[in-house]
Point group: C2
Chain length 212, copies 2
DNA sequence: ACATGTGAACTGCTTCACAGCG
DNA sequence: CGCTGTGAAGCAGTTCACATGT
């Protein structure tokens, strides 16, 4: 299979979300034009994105909504259950552990970790917070697929290395540092400070350039 | 000023974070090579990124750490205080409202909104949750700079339109929908489900292609 | 001698435009 | 006739390579 751009995968997620709504509304067929409008892109981009994976549409008609939905789920690999662990039971880690949207989409939180003795042993939403020292052992036993890192910046690299060594191959990193791991580990970064700084930059520049 | 790519602005944030550490450690000078290593990019990329904004380095030496730090803060517009409002007092909104990292970096949460009568009036971390019906009026009075949207997907577009109409020009959108707003409003999206699906895609494809 | 700053070359994503097919 | 699927063209972001300055 040809290498797929990150931006393409992101758009597939967007299309899928809208398609799921459309299925519920009983819509049978949808054009690339309509998908583009809702996804904030162009119809050519939609067709190109989908064409990497097959021919899902009917010329002169559009795409069959239920079939395309199933196909995208399959492409993104969200037909199955993915097991995720959350490392770092701070504010954000806690919110994520309790967030219902994960399980709903096939991502099951199987464990929550922290290093703070005050937090270890406490329970949230059915998850007992475990001691992060046990993580290597636990990963071997529980075989989770994805680690969500919500630890302080200083600890992120070390924890990333440990979960990678234990066999995890996907990390969602909330710590504001760039992780350096073997290339067979896929890392996605979510960095609130960075996003806010991006907005700050945009606002600052708009002011300088007189609003154009 | 030439148009700056989003990817460049993101990297500037990364450089800045590392530079701030370096200042604390008393490091005087840093090379593009070292910045690149820490930022997960190349030295040429670092030099190119910085060159859009000026000549900060000394040939044969590298970049002076304190001066470059100040310059990047200035470029990103984080010398001043930005006033932010959080709309949606659910799990994630609550976590963000209590998150200390914002104020620390110059982003001050000035108000939290929700539409649920049970939540309106309650207090978190010094913020009384206000009724979202008052938001237009409040924005005119409080003049916030950035809105953080943590409302359900169905409500995001309508709320986005309201805050845009009230004069807000920057939105950090956590709802899993693409906002359609006038182009003078800058929107950044943070979408956990999308990131997890990206990891799911990577894991699924690795399995199919036999790990390369 | 060494590391920056930067045009030029390159790579890869996006857009165009139209042939192909229902 | 309408809308998809897709090579070709266009464009933007990255990498190269070296002249430049200290």
């Amino acid at each position: 299979m040809k290498r797929i751009a990150d931006s393409t995968v992101r758009r597939l997620s967007i299309y899928l979300r809208f398609l799921e709504d459309s299925v519920l509304q009983g819509i049978r067929t949808i054009s690339s034009e309509e998908l583009a409008r809702r996804g904030g892109t162009t119809s050519a981009q939609v067709r190109k994105d989908l064409s990497f994976f097959g021919s899902f549409g009917k010329r002169g008609l559009g795409y069959p909504v239920p079939e395309l939905t199933t196909a995208l789920r399959d492409i993104l690999g969200i037909g199955r259950e993915w097991r995720i662990i959350i490392i770092g039971a701070g504010k954000i880690g806690t919110a994520l552990a309790q967030y219902g949207g994960f399980r709903q989409r096939g991502f099951q939180v199987v464990a929550v970790y922290d290093s703070d003795p005050q937090k270890i042993g406490s329970r949230w939403d059915g998850h007992e917070v475990r001691d992060v020292v046990d993580i290597d052992h636990d990963i071997a036993a529980d075989r989770p697929d994805i680690a969500v890192l919500t630890v302080p910046a200083e600890e992120a690299q070390a924890i990333g290395e440990r979960v990678a060594a234990a066999g995890l191959r996907a990390i969602l990193n909330f710590a504001p540092v760039q992780l350096h791991l073997s290339s067979d580990v896929t890392v996605r970064n979510v960095n609130m400070a960075m996003e806010l700084e991006g907005l700050s930059f945009a606002l600052t520049n708009r002011e300088k350039n007189g609003n154009d």
